[in-house]
């Protein structure tokens, strides 16, 4: 089996950062303008 776990980790971290960042942005936007 090829050793490419680093790419897996990078993709999972990247996706988590994107989704978490947008969630925080949206909820904060709602709080400040809500």
């Amino acid at each position: 089996m090829p050793d490419n776990g680093g790419f897996m980790v990078a993709a999972y971290v990247a996706a988590a950062v994107i989704y978490l960042a947008y969630s925080v942005y949206l909820v904060r936007k709602g709080r400040t303008k809500g």
């Binding site: 089996m1 993709a11 999972y12 990247a14 969630s23």
Partner: protein, 235 residues
């Protein structure tokens, strides 16, 4: 309860569901990384599948919503449809960004390159730019009904790309794999991987619904305030 209070309540409730969605997203990670077998040929990089594919499905669902809401808007001229379409476009943009980021990270170890101008990849990038244009257009036009009409047309055109992207792997010679679930006949994926994929898809759908609900509540809130301000100015 005034409309503003109702939107405010929707904003607070949907924020809680965004939190629940993020927690469930963490369970997808645990299930995919710990409790799902690694694929023999591709190794651990294949597990990118469980975030890449559901992100793509949800992004396409979002742009389907944009297309349908925009088309119905052009008939009914109900501003709520315009706000719903624009909310779905923004949230769909986030999911498409995740697709375009996780795809190259998967492509590098398997195809040997981060990017190639393959039909599906190119069309997905093109869709991303169309949605960006849609969001930029909305900031450039200030008259609400004109903004809604222009963006509805662009929203429909963007949504038309979605079926092309899905069948692009059949229409063109491409390096991107064929569908393993949404295909004619039965899924070709082993049961354990299919179960994780479907669980991931359900979670991504719920997370998307929470984000869309929240974004729409904010759009309605902003709209209600803009109307109230316009009435004050008139008075």
């Amino acid at each position: 309860m005034t409309p503003t209070e109702a939107f405010e309540r929707a904003r607070r409730r949907s924020a809680v569901w965004i939190g629940i969605g993020l927690l469930l997203l963490a369970t997808v990670y645990v299930r995919a990384l710990v409790f799902t077998p690694a694929e023999v040929v591709q190794g651990l990089a294949q597990k990118i599948f469980y975030v890449h594919v559901p992100s793509a499905w949800v992004a396409f669902l979002a742009f389907g919503i944009v297309g349908v809401s925009s088309a119905v808007y052009l008939f009914l001229k109900d501003p709520r449809l315009d706000l719903f379409a624009s909310s779905a476009a923004e949230v769909g943009m986030v999911f498409t960004t995740a697709v375009l980021v996780t795809g190259p990270i998967w492509g590098k170890p398997i195809w040997g390159t981060w990017w190639t101008w393959d039909a599906r990849l190119t069309l997905t990038l093109f869709l991303w730019f169309v949605v960006l244009a849609y969001l930029v257009l909305r900031t450039a036009v200030h008259e609400p009904s004109q903004r809604a009409r222009y963006s509805a047309v662009l929203g429909i055109l963007g949504a038309l790309l979605v079926p092309f992207i899905h069948v692009s792997v059949y229409l063109f010679r491409t390096v991107h794999p064929m569908p393993v679930v949404l295909r004619p006949g039965k899924p070709t994926l082993p049961g354990s991987m299919l179960a994780t994929l479907l669980f991931s898809f359900a979670v991504f759908m719920l997370f998307f619904a929470a984000l869309l609900w929240h974004r729409y509540a904010l759009a309605r809130l902003a709209d209600a305030r803009a109307h109230a301000a316009a009435e004050r100015d008139d008075a």
